[in-house]
Symmetry: C2
Subunit: 139 residues, 2 copies
DNA sequence: ATTATTGCAAAGACTTTGCAACTCC
DNA sequence: GGAGTTGCAAAGTCTTTGCAATAAT
């Protein structure tokens, strides 16, 4: 897809451009959702069965360190990942384990205002995210 | 400590009162924070080295199912647990992995108002919790 | 040429499971 | 007495690691 993109990112971060990293990135692009490592491994190996599982884990770890992607908090599941993006919140379905992104700039604005004038004792706020739990309704 | 408490809870949930369950509960009471299974196992075994690890895991699972405790979302760590309590939010320290509770009724009220008039497409909201990331400051 | 990265397989951490023995109601 | 629980050890799942071989700058 937009392969230049990841190449630029890797250069910027001072990481070597390897086929493996590009392929893992492409898999992340294809898997829009919040894939587990296992989803990513399956996706990668569809086309490249030769890439080692350990390499994929190491690549994900590297991406997380470099803030190219983020781990997503889950409360039961195994770890999930997502590409770092615009500010958003998460919808969790307790039943299915599905996670969706939730964008709401009005909410963001409100929280920003709120925390501008609010200090938490002994804590320096860097970011916040709302985890909304509930159920997805059939469309 | 307040042992009647857990006995009542177990009765209410239709679970048998066993020494093991009471002991795990006591450990949870002693470990205020957001203990991992391993913390809990260590705490339990201090006094009762005879209780099986599998039993502790099973007990925690049962408590979660019965909504006596909750799993806490972590983004790297192993699973953590907490006793179900009043509405609160979480402060996460990325550096140390420490999690603290954050109570803020003003914030709760504001969010409640906000979501009263806000529908999310295809999603039925049941609860929400703010995860605030940042750093704990030395006191 | 130098240094980072990969593949592989083994080890590690954490959690679950199967089942006979045992407890609680 | 009977259903629900426990202990135990083995198996499972997910992830990390060590290191020689290999590839990127």
């Amino acid at each position: 897809m937009d392969e230049n993109n990841i190449r630029d990112i890797l250069i910027e971060k001072g990481l070597k451009i390897t086929p493996q990293r590009v392929i893992v990135w492409d898999a992340l692009m294809n898997l829009k959702d919040h894939p587990t490592a296992d989803h990513i491994i399956t996706e990668v190996r569809k086309e490249n069965p030769n890439i080692a599982v350990g390499t994929i884990y190491k690549t994900l770890e590297t991406f997380v360190e470099q803030r190219i992607i983020e781990r997503v908090k889950t409360d039961k599941d195994t770890m999930r990942y997502e590409v770092v993006m615009d500010k958003h919140h998460h919808l969790y379905c307790a039943e299915s384990g599905k996670i969706d992104d939730y964008y709401d700039s009005e909410l963001d604005e409100m929280l920003k205002e709120y925390f501008k004038n609010k200090n938490i004792r002994n804590f320096k706020i860097e970011d916040y995210k709302l985890q909304i739990t509930g159920k997805f309704i059939n469309k």
